[in-house]
C-alpha cells in the first residue's frame, strides 16, 4: 500500500534524479577530465583545469567582474525594491491587484524582449538620447557598456526582490511599527529596529535569488554588452559552443557557481547573526 503511494511521486523523482542529479554529478566529473584536441575530452583525470582558472588573472578578473555585477544589481534591487514591496504589502488602494500584476508581469515576459526594450531606450539613437537631444544634451553612450548591462540586470531581477520582501512585510503586524512610534521612537528608528529586522527573512531570500540569478545571467550581458562586456557566463557559453572546450568550460561554470554559493552562505550566516541579535 505504502509502496503504491510512492508511485505517485515516482515520475517526478525520476525526472529530477535522471535529469538533474546525474547531469550535475557528470558536470563535476567533466571538470576533472583532461582536455583533448580531437575528442570532447582526453583519457584520465586532472586538476589542471582548476589550477588554470584559479591562477590565470584573466579568469580571476572575469570572476571578480561577474560577482561585482551581481553585487551591484542586488544592492540596487534591494534599495529600490524595498519601498515598492512595503507599499504593495500595506496599501489598501483599489489598484492593488493591478500594481501586483505590474510587478509580476515583467517576470513572465521573456528576458530577450525586455533586453530589446532596453536597447530601444538606451541605444545611441534610442528614445532617451533622442529626448536628451531635444534639450541639446548627449548623445550619451548608455549601452554596450557596464551601465547598460547593470540597468537591464536590475530591471530583469527586481521582481525577485520585491515579491519575497512583500510577503515578509505582509506578515509583520503594522501595529508593531505604530507601537514603536507611540513609545517615542523616530520614524527612522522604528524602521531600523522594528520593520527591517522583522522583514529580514524576505530580504534574505530576495538577496539570495537576485544575487545567484544575476551572477549566472547570460542573455543580458550578451545583448546589452554587445560584445564589449564579458562575464563568466558569456565566456563559459563561448567555450562550450564555439571552441567545444568542455572540461574547461565545466570548470569555469562550477568555480563561478561555487563562489556564488559560498558568498550566499556567508551572507546567510551574517544575517542570521544580525537577526538573532535584534530578536
Amino acid at each position: 500500500m505504502k509502496l503504491r503511494r510512492w508511485l505517485f511521486a515516482l515520475p517526478a523523482l525520476l525526472m529530477v534524479a535522471l535529469f538533474v542529479v546525474v547531469p550535475y554529478l557528470n558536470i563535476v566529473l567533466m571538470s576533472f577530465r583532461t582536455p583533448s584536441a580531437t575528442a570532447i575530452y582526453g583519457p584520465g583525470f586532472t586538476i589542471q583545469n582548476y589550477a588554470r582558472v584559479l591562477t590565470d588573472s584573466l579568469y580571476l578578473g572575469l570572476l571578480k567582474d561577474t560577482l561585482l555585477y551581481a553585487l551591484a544589481t542586488t544592492s540596487i534591487c534591494l534599495l529600490i525594491g524595498f519601498p515598492v514591496a512595503f507599499h504593495l504589502a500595506r496599501t489598501d488602494s483599489r489598484w492593488r491587484g493591478l500594481l501586483y500584476a505590474g510587478v509580476l508581469s515583467p517576470l513572465l515576459t521573456g528576458v530577450v524582449i525586455r533586453c530589446f526594450g532596453w536597447i530601444v531606450l538606451l541605444a545611441n539613437n534610442g528614445l532617451i538620447n533622442q529626448l536628451l537631444g531635444l534639450g541639446g544634451l548627449g548623445p550619451y553612450r548608455l549601452m554596450y557598456n557596464p551601465v547598460g548591462v547593470t540597468i537591464a540586470l536590475v530591471h530583469v531581477f527586481l521582481p525577485f526582490m520585491i515579491l519575497p520582501v512583500m510577503n515578509s512585510i505582509q506578515s509583520v503586524d503594522p501595529r508593531l511599527g505604530e507601537a514603536a512610534r507611540t513609545l517615542g521612537a523616530s520614524g527612522l528608528r522604528s524602521f531600523v529596529r522594528v520593520l527591517l529586522p522583522l522583514s529580514m527573512p524576505g530580504i534574505q531570500s530576495g538577496v539570495i535569488l537576485v544575487f545567484v540569478l544575476s551572477a549566472s545571467a547570460y542573455i543580458i550581458p550578451m545583448l546589452l554588452g554587445g560584445g564589449q562586456v564579458s562575464t563568466m557566463p558569456t565566456v563559459v557559453v563561448q567555450q562550450l559552443m564555439g571552441s567545444l572546450l568542455w572540461p574547461f568550460g565545466a570548470t569555469l561554470a562550477l568555480v563561478l557557481s561555487l563562489t556564488a554559493l559560498a558568498l550566499v552562505a556567508l551572507f546567510g550566516a551574517l544575517t542570521k547573526r544580525a537577526m538573532r541579535r535584534v530578536a
Binding site: 503511494r5 523523482l13 538533474v20 530589446f116
Partner: protein
C-alpha cells in the same frame, strides 16, 4: 490619514515606470511606419508584422515554440501533480527533503543546469539532434512551478471534504475524481499555464539544447538582435508579449494572480 508620504509615492511610481516602460515600448515600435527604431513613430503601419509573417525563420520558430510549450505544459503538470498530491496527503517523514528535491531545478542556476544537460545528452544519450532534450530540459525546470501551485491549492482545500465523501460511501477513486480533482483543478491549470509561459520564454535551456539549425522564438529573436535592430524584432516581441500576457490574464481570471508565488 495619509498612509504614505508623497515623496515615497513618487519614488514608487518611478520604479513602476522603470519596470513597465521597457516592456511597453516595444508595442509602439512595432507599429512604426519608419525604417529605423525612431521615436516618436512616423505614422502607423503593420508592415513589420507582414515582415514577420514573411520570414520563414520567425514563423517556424514561433510554431515550434508554441508546440514545445504545449507539450511541456502537459507533461510537466502530469508529472508534478501526483507528486504534489503525494507530498501533501501521504508523505510523513522526510518532507522537507522531498520538497527541496522537487524545487531543486528552480533553485539551481538555469545556465548550469543547461550545461549539465548538454554534456549529459551528448555523452550518455542520443545527442541534441532532436527536440527531445530541449523538451526534457523545459519539463525539468517547470516541474517546481506546477508542484508549488498544486501544493498550495491542496492546502487551501476546505478540510474534511474528502473524508466526508468517503464516509458517505464514495470509493477512494470516486472521492478523488469528484471532490479533490475539481477543487485542485485551478492549481493544476495555473501551474500548466506557468509552465507554458516559462517554456515559451525560455532562452537558457533552449540555447544549449536546441537541435542544430532549428530554433525557438526567443532564440531566433536573440540571434536577430545581436546583429540587427529593425522593427521586425518589435513585431515579434509584441506578438510574444500578447501571448504571454493573455495567459497571465487567464491565470488571474481562473485563480487570481496571488496564487503565483516564488
Amino acid at each position: 490619514m495619509k498612509r504614505f508620504p508623497t515623496a515615497l509615492l513618487c519614488f514608487i511610481g518611478a520604479v513602476y515606470a522603470f519596470l513597465l516602460l521597457p516592456i511597453a515600448i516595444v508595442i509602439p515600435m512595432s507599429l512604426n511606419a519608419g525604417e529605423y527604431l525612431t521615436f516618436p513613430p512616423q505614422g502607423l503601419s503593420l508592415r513589420w508584422y507582414v515582415s514577420f509573417l514573411n520570414s520563414e525563420q520567425f514563423t517556424s520558430a514561433f510554431v515550434r515554440s508554441v508546440g514545445v510549450a504545449l507539450v511541456v505544459a502537459v507533461l510537466s503538470s502530469a508529472i508534478a501533480t501526483p507528486a504534489a498530491l503525494f507530498y501533501v496527503r501521504h508523505l510523513r517523514s522526510g518532507r522537507e527533503k522531498f520538497r527541496l528535491t522537487m524545487l531543486a531545478p528552480m533553485l539551481l542556476p538555469e545556465v548550469l543546469t543547461s550545461i549539465a544537460l548538454l554534456f549529459f545528452f551528448n555523452q550518455l544519450f542520443f545527442g541534441t539532434g532532436t527536440l527531445a532534450p530541449l523538451v526534457i530540459g523545459h519539463v525539468v525546470i517547470t516541474i517546481p512551478f506546477v508542484f508549488l501551485t498544486v501544493t498550495s491549492a491542496l492546502y487551501n482545500m476546505p478540510a474534511g471534504v474528502e473524508e466526508a465523501a468517503r464516509t458517505m460511501g464514495a470509493g477512494a477513486w470516486t472521492a478523488f475524481r469528484r471532490i479533490t480533482l475539481p477543487l485542485v483543478k485551478p492549481g493544476i491549470v495555473t501551474g500548466a499555464m506557468l509552465a507554458f509561459i516559462m517554456s515559451f520564454d525560455n532562452v537558457n535551456i533552449s540555447l544549449l539544447l536546441k537541435p542544430l539549425g532549428t530554433s525557438t522564438l526567443p532564440i531566433q529573436l536573440f540571434d536577430y538582435l545581436r546583429y540587427d535592430f529593425d522593427p521586425t524584432a518589435a513585431a515579434v516581441s509584441t506578438i510574444s508579449l500578447t501571448l504571454t500576457l493573455s495567459v497571465v490574464f487567464l491565470i488571474d481570471r481562473i485563480y487570481g494572480l496571488r496564487a503565483v508565488r516564488f
